[in-house]
Amino acid sequence: MLKEVMGVIMTAGEMLLTSGAEVYRAEETMERMGRALGYTVEAYVTPTGIMATVAKDGRYLTKIRRVRMRSQDLGKIAGVNQISRELAAGLLDLAETKNRLNQLKSPTYNLPTQFFAVMVASLSLTFMLGGRQLELVVAAGAGFLAYAVDYFLSRLSASTYLRSFAAAFVVASAASSARLLLPNISVPQVIVGGLMVLVPGVAMASAVRDLVQGELLSGVVRVVEAVAIAAALAAGSAVAVGFWRF
């Protein structure tokens, strides 16, 4: 039984962490789920790994799980939260909890919807930055391109920095080329609108909330990650814009 409880809370913690949830949320959820099942759980979570001990009646089990993948999936965070609430309310038992967690693995939106959303978001952001008319159309294309490069490279399991750099390079090159055909468009607004989709918003927000909770380690690590991604985006567009001046 110790092993099964450990399996369930580890799965829950790992899902939260890989989806970009705050570290304190992962720890609290694991401890709350353990308590609901009648076990004492001590969890220590960092952005790159989980350590947990499950104990009952003087017997205990400790496990370490290394977590390498990081994504941004608010749906999964909300889903695990819901399961943990239901478990704490006594609506689920151990087997049901395990099933529900395993079923949670599918993404909420299909790929065409995501690409459409990216294009709408890029267009809107460019509008908010002062872009008008044709700039909006080009921005939607830039957003599509950025997301496509990111998606393609993520399937080749490229690192986040390579993906950001490559996408920024492609988008900035494309926007600069578009200017040859449409001399009146303002390139910065288009590039920024297109690249915003790669901004690690979930990591930034989680970093702030972890810092507020006193989770200094996770907060600082994630701030550094967000800054590094922003630097990769800037470097990618800098190389492209620099080339274009020759």
């Binding site: 819901q82 959303a117 920024v192 918003g201």
Partner: protein, 140 residues
């Protein structure tokens, strides 16, 4: 006035689009979009009198407040609503401008833009942090 409505709609679409990219549960989509739009309106209304940094702080605080209130009603983590909500406030254009300044060898203006970018990022962080800290207080 028309411009205000257009800005509101654009901010809602931007936040909503990002909510889809971040795979928010579909039932929260509308709330997240409206939260982002409300934050952007707070920013735009305060910008002429208070300046970029205070306006960003107030807007982030407003986003966080709405996220905390709605998340309690809808029984979901506040992050799910707050993250798409702050997207309109992220200073992407300033990062780009500072990159351009550095590329032109104009380091002074580049550093100036980086400093303002960091202040804005700090304002977003504090706006989120202050409100969520207050809500954590009430819970115990």
């Amino acid at each position: 006035m028309v411009d205000f409505i257009l800005q509101f709609a654009a901010a809602a679409l931007a936040s909503g689009g990002f909510a889809v990219v971040f795979r928010i549960p579909p039932k929260l989509l509308l709330v997240a979009a409206l939260t982002g739009a409300a934050g952007w309106l707070v920013y735009l209304s305060l910008l002429p009198t208070s300046g970029t940094i205070m306006a960003t702080f107030a807007a982030a605080a407003a986003v966080s407040l709405l996220a905390e209130v709605f998340s309690r009603k809808l029984k979901t983590p506040a992050t799910t609503i707050a993250v798409p909500g702050i997207i309109p406030l992220v200073p992407g254009l300033r990062v780009y401008r500072s990159m351009e300044y550095f590329l032109n060898g104009d380091n002074l203006n580049g550093i100036d833009e980086v400093a303002i970018t960091l202040l804005i990022a700090g304002a977003i962080a504090f706006g989120l942090a202050v409100v969520s800290a207050v809500f954590r207080l009430k819970k115990k």
